[in-house]
Amino acid sequence: MPLLEIKNLKLDFKQGDKLLRAVDGVSFTLDAGETVCLVGESGCGKSVTALSIAKLVPTPPAIYPEGQILLNGQDVLKMGKNELRSIRGGMVSYIFQDPSASLNPVFRVGNQIKESLKLHRPKFATDAEVIRLLKLVGIPAPESRIRDYPHQMSGGMQQRVMIAMALASEPKLLVADEPTTALDVTIQAQIMELLLDLKKRLGMSILLITHNLGIVGDIADRLAVMYAGQIVEMAPANQMLKRPLHPYTKSLMHSVPKLGHELERLNAIPGNVPSIGFMPTGCRFHPRCPIAHSDCSKNVPELVEVEPGHWVRCPYWPEAVGEKPRAQAAV
């Protein structure tokens, strides 16, 4: 049995009389010790999917009309308040994008970590355990740092404290929602290295959410690319990065700037992610798709397993693979 199994998850936001669908039929599994990355642009529904795992999206305005989130076989969406409290920060821990906004500015970082210990492992709510956790996430001289306030630390250090706090309850699943987006590139490299190291040492599962395909290569076992509330491609990480099948994945990869191509135009994806409530008919990517056919605006494509373990939501994927990246794509 997988640690996490999301089955046909649908999430609506109620706005007046209208229901706006943010997540539309997302299904994936996450095994113990596995790392899955959810990739997509802002507004594609990746963050609300991740927050749903501990039912952290407030209901209302959110409504779950269909779907199951099975965590160790139990449906999170049917859990009561007390059960939810024990899994939040217990079996599932979160790290968020902006560490300076996630830490409480008026408490010392040591006490904030201890709070998580008190809730989930009361026997270990000691300074020694806090120091051990800070050492685990690579904070130098943790003995003196536990009395620091968040503002005394840099962004990278704060994110390490957030990770230490998330690890305090010895979670089975760590959900990292854009953990490095607010950080500098050199610090981003440090934090990704730390997550990779923790994954190896502690053997926990990680669900990493990012918009940058460039940072997933080292850490991910499997990738799921989301677009407009749906998974459009899912495959083992190496397989997808080497040979993306969906035109959206391909475009996303080409839009990452690479070194050694000075003064060249980037392969931008024209247009924007459709806003929720104004989804195009047929395939949701067709207005921006470089290989769109005339019937793409009519037929709704299904997510199909085209190769073992490789799922794609595009009937014309062989064309996407054959197509060369266009250097002069119009903006």
Partner: protein
């Protein structure tokens, strides 16, 4: 003559403390930086947060008053100009800001935001001419002319950044200082904005000072790249050279930190330990030595000057160009080339 010339610019902020606000120390945000930007040229400025790159950009167009040094724009020194004189010169240099949410007034329509600059510099004689100018500016940045009546909250981040660009273009500037214009955007939108900036540069013959922390982005758009660390320029070279043959160990670490999509690339990652030190109390000698993988004893005491190692390629490292230094061979792995 180059369009912009900056000579030995210093920006120090006093740190006040205690009774009577005594000045205790100085934050040397920018310390002795010189640079030039030619006509139609893009100079990239890279570094981590807190290295002084934004302060430098702001001091150059005098949103901040520099402590020392000179800035020449088209041969005229602008560091000594009075506010009134400065206002008329501001038409020639504009800025695009990082946060597309914070830099547009939420109570003004897009037309008012762009029109304000046109009014201040009296660039449109009649209301029709003004409206026409706003429409054509919106078209230039890839937006619909009808958007002029909408408010900023109706737009996505990428579209807002386009509005910011249109506002900067409204006064027909010669130089635009772009302060992290794409770091708040998604990768796909980031690519759109970079392409747009390159198109506009060609059409309007603009010069850019492009500030960012992502070397891959900077390298894509710039002719020349300068790397800053703790208020100092540590390396400066044409963008082609800096990626293929970086001489400073800090530049090399920055290059290795660029995210790489290709799983096959066996690029060696150099993970720098620690953070950028505080500019209030910078390390002795070379400011980079506490994090430097190849530091020797000399680095702890002696500040390395910026030297021209090969023609056009400057580096501030004692070991640059010597066998003990960064070899100067390519480090980027197979994707370079």
């Amino acid at each position: 003559m180059s369009l912009l010339e900056v000579k030995n610019l210093k920006v120090h902020f006093p740190v006040k403390h205690g009774l009577f606000s005594r000045v205790k120390a100085h934050v040397k945000a920018v310390d002795d930086v010189s640079l030039t930007v030619g006509h139609g040229e893009t100079v990239g400025l890279v570094g981590e947060s807190g290295c002084g790159k934004t302060t430098l950009g702001r001091a150059i167009i005098r949103l901040l008053d520099p402590t020392a040094g000179q800035v020449f724009f088209n041969g005229e020194e602008i560091t000594k100009l009075k506010q009134g004189e400065l206002r008329s010169r501001r038409r020639q240099f504009q800025m695009i800001f990082q946060d597309p949410y914070g830099s547009l007034n939420p109570r003004m329509t897009v037309g008012q935001i762009i029109g304000e600059a046109i009014d201040i510099h009296k660039l449109a004689a009649t209301p029709e001419a003004r409206r026409e100018r706003i429409s054509s500016l919106l078209k230039d940045v890839g937006l619909d002319a009808r958007y002029a009546d909408r408010y900023p909250h109706e737009f996505s981040g990428g579209q807002r950044q386009r509005i910011g660009i249109a506002r900067a273009l409204a006064v027909e500037p010669k130089l635009i200082v772009c302060d992290e214009p794409v770091s708040a955007l998604d990768v796909s939108v980031q690519a759109q904005i970079i392409n747009l900036l390159m198109d506009i540069q060609r059409e309007h013959k603009l010069s850019y000072l492009f500030i960012a922390h992502d070397l891959a982005v900077v390298e894509h758009i710039s002719h020349r790249v300068m790397v800053m660390y703790l208020g100092h320029v540590v390396e400066s070279a044409p963008s082609k050279t800096i990626c293929r043959r970086p001489l400073h160990p800090y530049t090399q670490a920055l290059i290795s930190a660029v995210p790489e999509v290709d799983p096959e690339s066996k690029r060696k990652r150099i993970i720098l330990p620690g953070d950028v030190p505080s500019p209030i109390n910078p390390p002795s000698g070379c400011p980079f030595h506490p994090r430097c993988p190849i530091a020797v004893d000399r680095c702890k005491v002696e500040v390395p000057p910026l030297r021209e190692i090969t023609p056009g390629h400057w580096a501030a490292c004692h070991l640059a160009g010597t066998p003990a230094g960064v070899s100067g061979t390519k480090v980027g792995g197979p994707t370079l080339g």
